[in-house]
């Protein structure tokens, strides 16, 4: 099974990289761009794991390792399997 985990800074945390990208897009004339948040993507292959087990396992590793819960949040979904 392949899962994808998206990690991003919490909305309450300043994201200077996202702001810099937004400013660059404004400079290029993309006025419709209101805000940009930058994050990280992890694609994880899991072996011998049911969907139910994945629903327990993925939040655990996301919370413990992939994201720092003080500043980041995550979402995830199943890509295959």
């Amino acid at each position: 099974m392949k899962v994808r985990i998206l990690v991003a800074l919490k909305t309450s945390v300043l994201d200077p990289q996202g702001q810099t990208v937004r400013n660059a897009l404004h400079t290029l004339g993309y006025k419709a761009v209101e805000d940009v948040r930058q994050g990280k993507v992890f694609e994880v292959d899991l072996a011998g794991v049911s969907r139910e087990e994945a629903r327990r396992l993925v939040p655990e590793i996301a919370h413990k390792v992939l994201a720092n819960p003080i500043i980041e949040t995550y979402t995830w979904d199943i890509l295959e399997g």
Binding site: V13, L14, P16, N68, I70, I71
Partner: protein, 230 residues
């Protein structure tokens, strides 16, 4: 007393720190490898600056899983002294021994320069050789030094005097431009609740000899000596 300096893959201030402790402070200093399980009877563990594990994932995020860090956690839980410098500070935050987290510097630049910091609390085991309000000139070298904590945590650490150093101007005033990395409350260094663990972004080992342009960093090491030996 005896110091110990932990070396992770990617540490690069390890030998500067060992030199400062052995040759300037003048105390025996053990080299502690991150894969070991033995702290060799040291009185103070120092986590040096650098880029442990290439700063992969987040600065300090992988180093906290090193075998030796489990020993360091137990050592801190027993009241042992732990000092984290720069990347060492980031490791202590990721490990949860200190509250909060580091964000990328506000101007998105790697900052390598002398800064001035003000001693906010001279009653800790890491600052007792300094005076309250004393301004120290010590260099920084980091990309992720923009301290963040939620409002409740900030109120708690401020209320308990855990903020040890703040970025200030040379006169000791807190100004927006002196807070070079954008840290909340201009925090440059803080202790844990018990006061036996301290993290700081500036590098005291790089300001411990006149040849290096400042000896102000000796106050941190001198304070530890005073706390342990007296």
């Amino acid at each position: 007393m005896k110091f110990g300096v932990v070396i992770f893959p990617g540490s690069n201030c390890d030998f500067d720190t060992i030199h400062a402790l052995r040759d300037v402070v003048g105390r025996p200093t053990e080299i502690l490898w991150h894969k070991d399980h033995d702290l060799r009877g040291v009185d103070c563990v120092v986590l040096p600056g650098g880029f442990s594990y290439g700063d992969y994932l987040r600065s300090g995020a992988i180093a906290r899983f090193s075998p030796l860090m489990q020993e360091v956690r137990e050592f801190a839980d027993r009241g042992g002294l732990v000092l984290g410098i720069c990347n060492g500070f980031q490791v202590l935050l990721e490990l949860g021994l200190l509250p909060g987290a580091m964000l990328r510097n506000k101007n998105l630049k790697f900052l390598c320069q002398f800064v001035t910091i003000r001693v906010e609390n001279a009653g800790t085991r890491f600052t007792n050789a300094g005076r309250p309000g004393q301004v120290l000139r010590i260099p920084i070298a980091h990309f992720d030094g923009n301290y963040f904590a939620d409002p409740e945590t900030l109120a708690h650490i401020e209320g308990r005097g855990q903020v040890v150093f703040r970025y200030c101007d040379p006169a000791g005033e807190l100004t927006p431009s002196s807070n070079v990395n954008g840290s909340l409350h201009a925090i440059a260094g803080l202790t844990n609740d018990r006061g036996n663990v301290m993290g700081m972004m500036p590098h005291p080992e790089r300001a411990s000899e006149a040849l290096l342009g400042s000896v102000d960093g000796r106050i941190v090491f001198g304070s530890i000596l005073k706390a342990v030996e007296s």
